[in-house]
């Protein structure tokens, strides 16, 4: 149940997203052949400035640092609305993940340095913690070597969400042990302009263009460590869980709109002299999708509430949310193409955009399969 303020936020977000970031906005980031436009950043800086102005970037920033401290459920509402139109922005990377990282692991100096910028949109933070094709939280190979009171970083990160535009990144590095070990993982706060850090855009099917980061002797001070050196695994787990719930909220929005658009088509498209939505086989498929959406919504909302309530069951609930909405969106986005028939196969139609985003989101912050296995281990299977 939403309270009055949450309902107002949701309504405002729905209206703004509908007006300002309809699906056509995403389409402008695509090149003519269906790939990402090489010159595009993957989001619209002006729209992002407006979002910050409305206070969305600071929803999770304490009031003392210029935010509203409105909670994760509120952030989830905005992400869900953005998901409806596939609206792109660094809100999740910066407003949720980076802000949470600073709140949970940042020193007072780090918080004072970065949180106000996150809240007003002038700084964009992100998490640079993946290196391989598959999500692996402890598979950190990027090396941090102690040198002159600080650290020197060498290695790569990919994909870094919103990494091309990021002002700073929370980077996982290995200060001890070997890839796969929980011990020896350290989180560093690295500025985008750091000397020795190069970034290249990845041309991804969803036109978001995350980054490939190469660290070539990037030197940072001792004060760049977030949390405790060598003991970053717990904080990292927490950040990935928060990120997973955040993207799950966005995916819930993707799935709801994909379903609504498809339902509209079923109610208007005529074949064999009948509205195709009158065919029982399609009716039942729609009914089943509706049921799956119910499960997905419940799982996502339960996880968001668990964060706000500081519920210790969050790890399991985060995995439940990500995996449940992942499976639902997989099915609905595929059916969106199928039920639109030929037109759904064209780049010109929205169906393909939802399909592509669905698969990218499914991989972000741990795939459906990863979270299922994680849930299974947590529950003794």
């Amino acid at each position: 149940m939403l309270n009055e303020e949450q309902r107002m936020l949701k309504d405002m977000a729905a209206e703004w997203v509908h007006d300002r970031l309809p699906v056509t906005a995403l389409r402008s980031f695509y090149g003519h052949d269906g790939g990402g436009r090489p010159d595009a950043e993957g989001f619209d800086p002006e729209a992002w400035a407006e979002m910050a102005q409305m206070g969305w970037a600071g929803i999770l920033v304490p009031e003392a640092h210029g935010g509203s401290d409105f909670g994760y459920r509120g952030m989830g509402l905005v992400l869900e609305e953005l998901g409806r139109t596939l609206g792109t922005s660094p809100l999740l990377s910066s407003g949720l993940v980076a802000a949470s990282a600073l709140r949970l692991g940042g020193t007072e100096a780090q918080q004072a340095r970065w949180l106000p910028g996150i809240a007003d949109g002038s700084a964009i933070g992100t998490l640079a913690a993946e290196e391989g094709a598959q999500h692996g939280r402890e598979d950190v190979a990027l090396a941090a070597t102690a040198a002159g009171g600080g650290w020197v970083l060498n290695g790569v990160k990919r994909p870094v969400q919103d990494g091309m535009a990021a002002t700073f990144a929370i980077v996982t590095a290995r200060t001890g042990g070997a890839p796969g070990d929980r011990d020896g993982i350290t989180l560093f706060l690295v500025e985008g302009g750091a000397s020795g850090l190069s970034r290249e855009a990845l041309d991804q099917i969803d036109a978001r263009r995350p980054a490939f980061f190469r660290f070539d002797n990037v030197a940072v001070g001792a004060d760049a460590v977030l949390g405790e050196a060598g003991k970053g695994a717990d904080l990292l787990d927490r950040l990935f869980d928060l990120a997973a719930v955040g993207i799950a909220a966005e995916m819930l929005g993707n799935a709801c709109q994909a379903f609504d658009t498809t339902l509209d088509y079923l109610k208007t498209r005529v074949q064999f002299g009948a509205i195709i939505g009158s065919f029982q086989a399609l009716q039942h498929r729609a009914a089943e999708m509706f049921g799956e959406l119910q499960l997905a919504r419940s799982a996502v909302e339960a996880a968001l509430d668990a964060i706000d309530a500081d519920d210790t069951a969050l790890p399991a609930l985060a995995s439940l949310a990500k995996a449940t909405v992942g499976e639902t969106l997989h099915g609905i986005s595929s059916q969106m193409v199928q039920l639109h028939g030929g037109i759904g196969m064209t780049h010109e139609h929205d169906a393909g955009l939802y399909l592509k985003r669905a698969r990218v989101a499914a991989q972000c912050y741990g795939s459906t399969a990863w979270h299922r296995e994680r849930w299974a281990r947590l529950n003794g299977y």
């Binding site: 049921g291 119910q294 299974a376 529950n379």
Partner: protein, 393 residues
């Protein structure tokens, strides 16, 4: 104002807690209450159950919100909820709960005459009079409105002839609420809602043996049964609307059932063993178990969410979709349970199978009914498509 209410509620809660603690027989703690609803013999041969029923009947808390003249306690919904919560807190159950309180009672309150209410509700409120539902017929399953049981107006009485099927507990019931055909020229518009005393001459109930061995369901034959004119609920030929309302109450109570969520993982480790990584040593079965368990969790979260969202106590939104999720999840779970038990999950009787194994087998067979009764899977999908999603006919 709100504060006063809150204080009053708190004091009522304490009162209820004390009374329940003093009166609920400890031997019945966490007893399978649904069993007593469906098996009258099991209930009435249990002395503690009888005592508990009598105490609740006298306290009138079986139907706390009904008016006093109908056997209720005349309390508010909020008070009723508190009683339920306190009862649940001590592992208790409501011994008055029956087809009468869940289905017929609310329907009579809405459509019955004052005379009918006074005649029947007090006996439902004490659970002395058991009811059965005479709706389905051999030729009218999912298409209930095609029912054929004849009901002829003989001036001073109705004459009923026909056959019903799937009548739960008809062989143990005192009365039956039945749909009968009073006009053969119209389909839905020719159906009436009639209350029939099962002791009437010409009524015969024959239990049906199900694949699970259960004999809970019956065929009921009406052979020229005379029924008093006053037993018709509502108007002649307007029974369909009443029945639809009653079926909504039934669907509500079905989707209300919070299925047990005893995790299957420990059993699977026991029957299938554990691999070197500590996982259930049957990867394919494990993957399916995990998926089912996650859906089950999400389903329970959905029930909670919809309950929170429901403003009023009336039949909720999307109940048909919920029922299909529920039946599918529970059926899959029942399949997984016998599958993990392997050859031991396939026994019918005998000491070579444990009680738990034989129960799992019967429960699996029983679960196949969940997508058939109370509106089949297909019918529920039709309802979701048409009513909730507003797809065209």
């Amino acid at each position: 104002m709100a504060e006063l209410e809150e204080m009053e509620a708190q004091s009522f809660r304490e009162e209820a807690r004390a009374w329940l603690k003093a009166n609920f027989p400890p031997s019945l703690t966490n007893a399978p209450s649904i069993h007593f609803v469906s098996d009258r013999h099991a209930a009435e041969s249990n002395a503690d159950w009888c005592l508990w029923r009598q105490r609740m009947a006298e306290k009138r808390w079986g139907v706390p919100t009904w008016e006093q003249r109908y056997g209720g306690a005349g309390l508010t919904q909020a008070h009723g909820k508190i009683i339920g919560q306190e009862l649940a807190a001590i592992g208790g159950f409501n011994p008055i709960r029956s087809y009468g309180t869940m289905m017929l009672g609310p329907t009579l309150l809405e459509y019955g005459s004052e005379e009918q209410k006074r005649e029947h509700l007090p006996f439902i409120a004490t659970n002395e009079r058991r009811w059965c539902q005479g709706f389905s017929e051999p030729g009218a399953g999912s298409d209930l409105a095609s029912l054929q049981t004849k009901c002829i107006d003989m001036g001073d009485h109705w004459l009923v002839s026909g056959q019903k099927i799937w009548t739960s507990g008809a062989d143990q019931a005192d009365w039956c609420f039945a749909l009968v055909r009073t006009d053969t020229s119209r389909k839905q518009g020719g159906i009436s809602f009639l209350l029939i005393d099962m002791k009437s001459e010409g009524v015969e109930a024959r239990p049906i043996v199900l694949i699970s061995g259960s004999t809970h369901f019956c065929e009921v034959f009406f052979n020229d049964v005379k029924v008093p004119k006053g037993n018709l609920v509502g108007q002649v030929n307007q029974g369909w609307a009443i029945a639809k309302r009653l079926l909504q109450y039934e669907r509500d109570s079905l989707s209300d059932v919070k299925a047990e969520i005893t995790p299957l993982a420990p059993l699977a480790h026991q029957y299938c063993g554990t691999d070197v990584m500590g996982r259930i040593d049957n990867p394919d079965l494990r993957a399916r178990m995990v998926r089912n368990a996650m859906r089950h969790e999400a389903y329970l979260a959905t029930v909670s969410r919809l309950a929170r969202e429901a403003k009023s106590g009336g039949p909720g939104y999307g109940v048909s979709a919920l029922k299909n999720l529920w039946s599918g999840i529970i059926q899959d779970r029942a399949e997984l349970l016998i599958e993990l038990m392997g050859a031991n999950g396939l026994g019918w009787s005998g000491e070579h199978y444990t009680d738990a194994e034989r129960e799992a087998t019967r429960a699996w067979l029983h679960s196949k009914a969940f997508s058939i009764y109370g509106g089949s899977y297909e019918i529920q999908n039709n309802i979701t498509a048409k009513r909730t999603l507003e797809l065209p006919a």
